[in-house]
Symmetry: C2
Subunit: 199 residues, 2 copies
């Protein structure tokens, strides 16, 4: 058991090293050799944990998604027992944007992963499934909010979910200093206000 835990710990340390490479040097530098050096191990040691670049990248991406979920869950816990669906959606969206160091790392990781997915079927399928799961969770919140009368029943839950997810498009705009974090959050608030004011 401790060995298993240690194995997991090493893989997470490698994933964090991979994020640092993406963050500091860019996805073009993302080779197993560079990640091994960043993680302070030999290429052979890295290959003991990940047989291929794709396997390493997939784990790093899954780990990033887990970290994002954990941050959202922690935020939800702080909202108390029965959080308002508007707060749930705002928190979820905000954690998907590069508004603080951890979220920035996972956001950049996601952007790199999408580009990888375009010419790697396995990565594409894994990324698709991860995002589809996220979409289903958001849609569940939207449907429940409609059922509970927080959102007008005339709103189409699928369309509203798609619009909410598309707002992750603020990520590159924030990264490039085209729209400031405060303005992005203000726009998200305006969108949510109208969604929830529609009753």
């Amino acid at each position: 058991m401790p060995k298993e835990v240690d194995h997991r710990g090493r893989r997470e340390a490698i994933a964090r090293a991979l994020w640092r490479v993406v963050e500091q040097r860019g996805v073009t530098q993302l080779t197993m050799r560079v990640v091994a050096r960043e993680a302070g191990m030999s290429l052979g040691q890295l290959q003991h944990y990940f047989a291929s670049r794709t396997a390493m990248l997939s784990f790093a991406m899954d780990f990033a998604a887990e970290q994002t979920s954990a941050r959202v869950q922690q935020g939800l816990d702080e909202l108390g027992d029965r959080p308002h669906p508007r707060d749930v959606l705002r928190l979820t969206l905000a954690e998907m944007l590069p508004l603080h160091a951890d979220a920035r790392a996972t956001s950049r990781m996601s952007a790199a992963y999408v580009l990888e997915a375009l010419h790697d079927e396995a990565v594409h399928e894994r990324a698709r499934r991860g995002l589809a799961r996220g979409l289903a969770l958001v849609e569940q919140v939207v449907r429940q909010a409609i059922a509970d009368g927080h959102i007008d029943s005339g709103r189409d839950p699928a369309t509203e979910t798609h619009l909410l997810l598309a707002l992750t498009g603020f990520a590159p705009l924030i990264e490039l200093d085209v729209i400031g974090p405060r303005d992005a959050l203000a726009a998200i608030d305006a969108h949510l206000d109208r969604l929830f004011r529609s009753t």
Copy 2:
């Protein structure tokens, strides 16, 4: 003069070769050597046109932005003399999404460029300026639509512009088959309907 035109033509051919590399093999393969091979020239010949990878990438990105603008302009011309601002915004947004081969190439190019910008100051500034210009154009349309009574004067033009630009977040969702092109356009239509129905 013919020599100048030819020079421009060669640079555009290189930019298209670069797009093909991004499209087919991914940004990690984006070296001057690979692009030279794809363009059917030697590395030395490529270096005659672009002194550095960044210079090559910047030209390819500017060219992609020009191509997108040209497609939008062509669409606007087809809309007739005084197009409705809703149609202008829909056309602009649609051309920024990977809905057909040309738009897919420029959309992928943009995504690659954003990742490059994160660790290259010159690319960051160039990408920021390009996007800021796009934002200003959209905001101009929104402000005029408010002035002309097409959009309720209670709407904040900056916030509405930010929300419209954020909807380019559909691009990765379409690329990963999480949201279909038809659903993305339906969501954009729903958003525009509400923006223009607010009067």
